[in-house]
Symmetry: C2
Subunit: 333 residues, 2 copies
């Protein structure tokens, strides 16, 4: 219980799924966090396509609802909010663009240049320009954190950097895409063909209307690049990853695997020799990597601790917001 309070002013740039989750989680947890960590989290600005709102005293719930309803577009741009409204942490949750990194890239650069710490769930800028962004953050004396970009609520980057500090990491191998895991699990358990399960996953919102990025392995590959750069100190980009998705996996293949005591999973694999691979792989049924449904999992191979496996929900707005929140608290404790 800390008594001295520090106010931490936050902007949320990108107010979709995850951005809303962050606002919701801060609302729910503000008092508990103040009492436990001595920091008072105050959202002073929100920007998305519908408009931009700001209030240095902290946004009211009414203003946020009006923005959501499209009734309060405000009169500044997102970049003006980042630059001109005094605050401490910019939370970047706009949609990922792997090719350009935009608009997140410009948001992050602007925030660091304006002296804000940055916490993001956005894979694009981190996978594309990791080294440049970390150098910029160091130059500005600010931090750039991105736990939510890989594995949602499942801790992995901070797990290696903090909990396994002192360990050398030789490889990380895991299921980093919940949509693919859901599809493969359903196919195997219900003996249903790929197209059928994909359609069903789209209907219940687990797969997107255009599922390409998930099922072709692109999303897994981008997360692997983030791990390669942040954990292994590489300077990799998406082009360095050998990628094969799950679209050609047949019921026959799953059946053959099952008979031999295996399941088939879409595995991302990065090691300290610089190998980056995404491909369907046979996983023994009793291996910790054999997790079901939309779960994510990663096995981290280390020189001291041996193999550490972590399993958690890879998606969901509150789950991603949980990772964002832990990153924010980590800046001040």
């Amino acid at each position: 219980m800390k008594t001295k309070q520090k106010t931490v002013r936050i902007s949320i740039i990108g107010f979709g799924y995850v951005g809303n989750g962050v606002a919701e989680v801060i609302r729910r947890k503000r008092e508990a966090i103040a009492s436990k960590y001595g920091i008072d989290l105050k959202v002073v600005g929100i920007a998305d396509l519908k408009g931009v709102i700001a209030d240095e005293q902290g946004l009211s719930e009414e203003a946020i609802q009006a923005l959501k309803a499209g009734n309060n577009p405000g009169d500044m741009t997102g970049l003006e909010l980042i630059r001109d409204i005094e605050h401490d942490v910019m939370v970047e949750t706009t949609p990922t663009n792997v090719e350009t990194g935009e608009p997140g890239l410009t948001h992050i650069i602007t925030a660091l240049d304006s002296g804000r710490h940055v916490v993001t769930s956005n894979k694009g800028p981190i996978a594309r320009d990791y080294r440049m962004l970390m150098d910029l953050a160091a130059k500005r004396g600010r931090e750039l954190k991105f736990e939510a970009s890989v594995g949602g609520a499942m801790p992995i980057i901070s797990l290696v950097q903090d909990n396994l500090a002192g360990n050398g990491v030789t490889s990380i191998k895991g299921i980093l895409n919940g949509t693919c895991n859901y599809i493969l699990t359903r196919m195997a358990d219900e003996n249903l063909p790929y197209e059928h399960v994909l359609k069903e996953a789209q209907e219940i919102g687990i797969a997107e209307t255009d599922p390409t990025k998930d099922v072709e392995g692109v999303d897994t590959a981008v997360k692997l690049v983030i791990l390669a750069n942040s954990v292994f100190g590489m300077n990799a980009t998406y082009k360095d990853v050998t990628v094969k998705g799950i679209t050609e996996i047949t019921l026959d293949a799953l059946k053959l695997a099952d008979d031999a005591g295996y399941v088939i999973k879409l595995i991302g694999d990065v090691d300290s020799d610089g190998r980056l691979e995404v491909a369907p792989r046979l996983v023994p049924k009793d291996d910790p990597l054999n997790v079901c449904g939309t779960l994510n999992v990663a096995t981290i191979k280390t020189d001291l601790a041996g193999e550490i496996t972590v399993i958690g929900k890879g998606a969901g707005p509150i789950e991603a917001a949980s990772a964002v929140l832990s990153d924010i608290i980590g800046l001040y404790s």
Copy 2:
């Protein structure tokens, strides 16, 4: 890569299995840690039943080997080393005594009173006198860390406190004793009775000559108390835990469970309502808690991140030393 070096002087009290692991890991990793974290770890004193050695310039490998061989008993006591030799961190790795907490308890109190940080793998003092010790550490402005006391290399205390910061934890449930997990796994897989597998486990060093503490659930219960106090802020002791071990589990029971899609595991379970239980439980085969052999596992149920599961090696000198090392680095980064 940090250039400014801070020397961190360390004493190791208790030079058995884990204490040797700590010395070994510091020897192996000293340069890498200096270059990555800017701290130069220097072991300036070691105490165990064979003797006590100290050198404020850092112990030589020869002195350590002589101590191990019983050829260099030195002329001070362990408590004198803790009190009188100037150092920063006391690593306490003497054997656990759940009833008295000794000798670890006196070592830890003396170290905190002498202005040392304490990092320990010793369950006894932490389970018995958690609140008193944390209060003393706070009063002295020093830290008391004990990640290695629960789950060996498997991060759990720091995982909740750091990676899941901001989350409310509703329960932690897991396999916290590798010996029991090994016995139950072998019984189920090989259809061998309890006594047979226990004997085999003793022969290969996985079970102790007197296996009571493991197989009766005492070890799991003590770890649960540490989690209850450190994660849930309780003030529990061993007496608050309902404990049942694995000695009465029959092959029939394992077979029945198997037929129904379950395995039987010795599960420790603590929740925010104050329930503390150790007992054999049915675990669905596809549950993340179903891990084999000597592995440990814990599922942490949270209000934001959902369920996070972590799996790792619960024992082994280098594995425990890994947790000690991460705790030491955490003091300075």
